[in-house]
């Protein structure tokens, strides 16, 4: 064993002497740490941006009101929820935590705590950025086609999910069992238009009185008779329309 040990030692030392094995310089490890740190920060920024965008989109498209529209509203909210964005965020969150494992403090912490900590941190950053109109500014830039990259992401951010029976606009006519809403999201595109919503007798007593000129977000369900029956209505202030 001792001879074997000496052989191994000789072998390694001769490789070191001949330059076959070289020490990596300290700067290599510093650079590696900096790169990982940069990747963590970049991923957290992207993650916070996506979380902020998801919240902005849900609020700006009036989908948040759906949660107050009973079971049908909750169902439509779930159907129109940006699940792909959520999955992307979860993947990014796991990626951040895997990167964090590079640092000593992180691997000493159970992964679930690390995930919870990162989530709270990201939510706090998203909350902070929501106090400054980052997404509103980017939306305007996108609408004005100033930033092509953001155009795809933001162009529908404020549009209510009309294909799922959710409309936002101004009431232009009111009848006993129906009303017409003119939906205008101020982008002068194809989704601006009129929609007549029917109100069933049972529903009539639950909805607030509506008048022509009222701003509102409404949700209706298409029935077999071809009419869309109201299941939720929330009056808005004009400022909430933008």
């Amino acid at each position: 064993m001792n001879n074997k040990q000496n052989d191994l030692k000789k072998n390694i030392l001769s490789k070191i002497d001949s330059g076959k094995i070289k020490m990596k310089p300290k700067i290599y490890f510093t650079a590696k740490t900096v790169i990982v740190l940069f990747a963590v920060i970049a991923a957290v920024v992207v993650l916070s941006f996506l979380v902020g965008f998801a919240v902005f989109s849900i609020r700006a498209s009036s989908r948040l009101f759906l949660l107050g529209f009973g079971n049908a509203g909750i169902w439509t909210f779930l159907v129109t929820f940006p699940w792909l964005l959520l999955v992307t965020e979860i993947i990014l969150l796991i990626f951040v935590d895997i990167l964090l494992k590079y640092f000593k403090f992180a691997y000493k912490t159970p992964f679930i705590y690390l995930m919870a900590g990162t989530t709270v941190f990201v939510v706090l950053i998203s909350f902070f950025t929501s106090t400054i109109p980052v997404h509103e500014t980017l939306y305007q830039e996108a609408v004005e086609q100033k930033i092509p990259i953001f155009e795809t992401i933001y162009k529908d951010a404020k549009r209510p999910p009309e294909e799922n029976g959710v409309f936002r606009g101004v009431i232009i006519s009111v009848d006993d069992d129906a009303f017409t809403i003119f939906s205008d999201d101020y982008d002068k595109d194809k989704d601006d238009g009129q929609q007549t919503i029917s109100i069933s007798k049972e529903r009539l007593k639950y909805i607030p009185p509506i008048r022509i000129g009222d701003f509102a977000v409404v949700a209706c369900k298409q029935e077999k008779d071809g009419r869309c029956y109201l299941y939720g209505l929330k009056k808005l202030k004009s400022a909430e329309m933008k």
Binding site: M1, L13, M23, K24, Y107, F111, I112
Partner: protein, 189 residues
Amino acid sequence: MSEGEKMTDEEIISLVQQKDKEKFGVIVDRYEKKLSRYALKFISDANKIEDVVQDVFIKVYENIMSFDTTRKFSPWIYRVAHNVFINEIKRKRNVLFYAFDFDAILPHLEYEDPLPKETANSEMKNLVEEELKSLPEKYREILILYYTEDLSYKEIAEILEVPIGTVGIRLKRARSILKKQIPFDVLSK
């Protein structure tokens, strides 16, 4: 006793970092047997052991500048060895070797480290040696580090890069698997 032999690992590494290449030989002398014994529990082909251990020392030398000499050296070298052995297993079997560690996901109560009491139990050590082959790899490794290499929970946690609670729970599970194979009175000593 030579000057190098009186020095601590950390003092020697500090000299190696200052380009005293010969001192690296002292590290090889100190750890060659330990690492070979550690490797033997992962790699069944005895002829491969020397090559793999040599790879460990090469990796250690290449990355020596990343070692912080204010910390303990032994967990660090075992960490390097762990990575080399895992890579060797992965390469050989073409599989992911416990890439996803469920034990490290959830928090566990921190088990008190009863090292001085239990390692004194040489009978337990021998039994662990004998029964190791029948255990899953992740339990096998933790038993080796704890009983054969006499490392503490904290050091094992550093080597495996898992929380200390995970070391505790994994050792507990490893012992309970051993309980089924070893007479209870030996384990409870």
